[in-house]
């Protein structure tokens, strides 16, 4: 084994480990020193800016500036010549099958609805059910385990699950082994555009199913924490008043968990909108399974078209903004109730 490559990077590593904290410390000490020189009444106005300064600069340099750059680039061609809305026009051309329409449909309809609903529903049901069993922590860690798997590995694992062999041959994929066991023909899960080429639900659901498997643990753990936060007296009082378990869930547990469900839900919506890895690994966007993030990647890296890639990025950004605003408001509402 050759470790020389590690040795070469040690100076950089030293700078990062020693230099960065040193500069930060110097900044804070120096900033405080300057603030102390100020008259008393000005200190509260200046001090917060000194403290949030580094964060603001980082956000500006790594988020805001690139975002503006992307927006500007989306109105230019590859040579940097302004082309107006041409890049957007190419993405919105030929409804319903041309441009970015398939990706938009998959993101905004299939992924957003099914991925969010599946993950929330499974997460909630599992959280509530596991709350009542002795081996709770064990099964919860099992469900949470896929979160620890990289999404590329996840895609490969589900590739094996969905594997297809012609009818009559031995099925190597688990799902087709089950389908053929019930005397049904094997299904090409990732290529089958059932019910039609214009509304291909099956292969999109196959991808969403794989992604849901990976994220359910996340929803379950957070919802389970919210469930534990509900005071036992409330549940007891409801039961004493004669409420059955279903009524307790519907009238007491569910409303009390609502704020958490909304936060988890909106987070999942954002995850759904930026879906990429599962599609990249499993279908490469073929058979009408394209999503916006993958389309952006393709425009940028395979087509080498910065303008169009930026246009797709901006479309994605616009799609996420309402969710972001809603999510922020919800956060504040929850905070305000505390």
């Amino acid at each position: 084994m050759d470790f020389s490559i590690l040795l070469q990077d040690i100076p950089t590593l030293l700078v990062v480990i020693i230099g960065v904290p040193a500069i930060l410390a110097a900044y804070i000490v120096g900033g405080e020193y300057l603030v102390r020189r100020l008259p008393d009444k000005n200190r509260p106005q200046v001090r917060p800016w000194i403290w949030v300064g580094p964060a603001l600069i980082l956000v500006a340099a790594y988020l805001l500036l690139p975002a503006f750059g992307t927006i500007i680039q989306s109105f230019e061609n590859n040579e940097g010549v302004p082309v107006g809305f041409a890049n957007y026009a190419s993405q919105f051309a030929d409804f319903p099958s041309g441009g970015a329409w398939v990706a938009i449909r998959n993101n905004i309809i299939f992924w957003l609805i099914f991925y969010t609903l599946f993950a929330l529903a499974f997460g909630l049901v599992l959280a509530v059910l596991f709350d009542r069993v002795r081996y709770e922590s064990f099964v919860k860690s099992l469900i949470f385990m896929p979160m620890a798997i990289s999404s590329v590995a996840l895609g490969l694992i589900w590739d094996f699950m969905y594997q297809y062999q012609p009818p009559g041959a031995v099925q190597t994929g688990l799902l087709n082994a089950i389908t053929t066991f019930f005397h049904h023909d094997p299904v090409v899960w990732l290529q089958d555009q059932w019910p039609s080429e214009h509304f291909n639900l099956l292969n999109n659901l196959a991808l969403i199913g794989a992604a849901t498997w990976g994220i359910t643990g996340f929803a379950m753990v957070i919802l389970s924490a919210a469930l534990k936060g509900i005071p036992g007296e409330l549940l007891e009082a409801a039961r004493v008043d004669g409420a059955g378990e279903l009524t307790v869930f519907r009238r007491v547990i569910f409303p009390l968990m609502m704020p958490t469900i909304v936060v988890v839900g909106t987070t999942l919506v954002i995850f759904a909108l930026k879906a990429f890895d599962v599609v990249y690994v499993m279908t490469g966007g073929n058979y009408n399974t394209d999503v916006l993030a993958f389309r952006m990647y393709e425009q940028l890296y395979t087509a080498g078209n910065n303008g169009r890639a930026s246009a797709v990025a901006v479309i994605l950004l616009i799609a996420v903004i309402p969710v972001l605003i809603f999510n922020l408001r919800q956060f504040r509402a929850v905070e305000a109730r505390r």
């Binding site: 020389s4 040690i10 030293l14 290529q191 089958d192 073929n286 393709e298 890296y301 395979t302 080498g304």
Partner: protein, 435 residues
């Protein structure tokens, strides 16, 4: 007080580390290193490492090899970030040509021994390496593959009394004969892990365009001057359709199996007992996949090939070839030494002997090919009368990907041909404009 002593203790420790670092890097950069990016992994990577071994031993230069199947993205990112590898080998020279247009790769005229290259490599390969036609060599080719080889199991053929077809009509007759016996004649598999799905079908299309419409149409097609809806290209798709049969019924498993099977597994049903299909079309590299799937297979007795018969006898002996092209991003002395080494017969011979590749260097002896089949394909490469480089690999990347996708759509539903081709025309208009 205490803190201060600790800080004092730290200083010698840190300086010790720094000295160690300085010495460590000094020792390892004696002869320097070369960073390479290419697509070979697994068996192919082992062969490439074997090629590098004598170079590293002789020069002391270390080669750091990075393997990726998504090479376009890796190279684009690293080049635009100003951090390219020293050398890269690409199966699709179009990307390297784009870098040449942007001035991101160095001309090789001074790095390699041009005299030796001209005497050891056929003019066609050198010309391919000068895509800008400015007299500068931007790419060199090390290994090649012949496309359009029809693989079959000779034992299956003799058991059924099938004859190797000499003409296109023979092939069509054989196809009907096999089909009427109850087994589909062909195996086709087009999956290739996501983004590259569909390329094996493009091999069929390229062969057919070249052999049916001829080299002039082929060149115009590659250059984006022949529309996809033109009668020549449309009829090439339709000829491919006669191979697929109505609803892909000439192919084992129909469209589902074609689309869902990885290209490397294409031969497995052919070697089943009884065979599930009798023929498949793939380039010379496929033998590696045959023997890794079924290790007991013997080249020559268990599998062999015949070249795809000429469709239009006007263009006899036309073949599509492909190769690994190299470009140099940084002209360090180490990188120049390595790229020079890769043009030599000595370097190319190592992989040839290990199987799976054909040498571009003419000085590699035909006797060095490990089995009669690779020797035969090497002969085809040498004797090809009309050699054309892989068309889709020489188209702009988004044209290439659109063509692959279009073939998937055509296999899914041959009835949509007109709308598929119209869509390709649209991509053609923008792809060549932006490239």
């Amino acid at each position: 007080m205490r803190v201060q002593t600790r800080v004092r203790a730290l200083i010698p420790a840190l300086s010790a580390i720094l000295i160690a670092v300085a010495c460590g890097t000094g020792a390892s950069s004696n002869a320097g290193t070369v960073h390479i990016v290419a697509v070979w992994s697994g068996q192919e990577q082992a062969s490439f490492m074997a090629v590098l071994k004598p170079f590293e031993d002789q020069t002391g230069i270390k080669v750091q090899y990075e393997s990726t199947r998504d090479e376009d993205a890796i190279l684009r990112t690293r080049v635009s970030a100003g951090n390219p590898p020293d050398l890269a080998a690409a199966p699709s020279p179009q990307l390297l040509t784009q870098f040449a247009q942007q001035g991101k790769v160095k001309p090789l005229n001074n790095a390699v021994d041009m005299g030796a290259l001209q005497s050891s490599t056929s003019q066609g390969w050198i010309k391919l390496g000068e895509p800008l036609a400015d007299g500068k060599l931007y790419q060199i080719f090390s290994w090649a593959a012949v496309k359009g080889l029809i693989w079959y199991d000779p034992k299956n053929f003799s058991a059924k009394g099938y004859q190797v077809p000499k003409t296109w009509d023979d092939l069509m007759a054989l196809q009907t004969q096999i089909k009427s016996s109850g087994t589909p004649p062909w195996c086709i598999a087009v999956a290739s892990g996501g983004a590259a799905d569909g390329w094996p079908a493009s091999d069929w299309l390229k062969e057919i365009v070249l052999s049916q419409a001829g080299p002039d149409v082929y060149d115009k097609w590659v250059a984006g001057k022949q529309t996809w809806t033109s009668p020549e290209i449309k009829s090439a798709f339709q000829t491919f359709g006669t191979i697929l049969g109505p609803n892909d019924s000439n192919v084992y498993g129909g469209k589902n199996t074609i689309l869902a099977t990885q290209f490397g597994d294409v031969g497995t049903p052919m070697f089943a007992n009884p065979p599930k299909c009798y023929m498949l079309n793939q380039a010379s590299f496929i033998t590696t996949f045959f023997t890794s799937a079924v290790p007991s297979l013997q080249a020559g007795t268990d599998f062999t090939f015949f070249p795809l018969p000429d469709i239009n006898t006007q263009f006899t002996g036309a073949h599509v070839v492909a190769g690994d092209s190299w470009s140099m991003f940084k002209d360090t002395p180490q990188a120049e030494k390595l790229i020079q080494y890769l043009t030599t017969a000595q370097a190319q011979d190592i992989w040839v002997k290990r199987g799976g590749k054909l040498a571009v260097n003419k000085n590699v002896s035909l006797d060095d090919y490990p089995d009669p089949l690779s020797k035969l394909s090497a002969q085809i490469l040498v004797n090809t009368q009309i050699a054309k480089y892989d068309a889709t690999d020489n188209m702009p990347t988004d044209m290439r990907n659109a063509a692959w996708k279009a073939l998937l759509q055509y296999i899914s539903n041959q009835g949509n041909l007109d709308s598929i081709l119209a869509n390709l025309d649209k991509v053609q208009q923008s792809a060549y404009a932006s490239a």
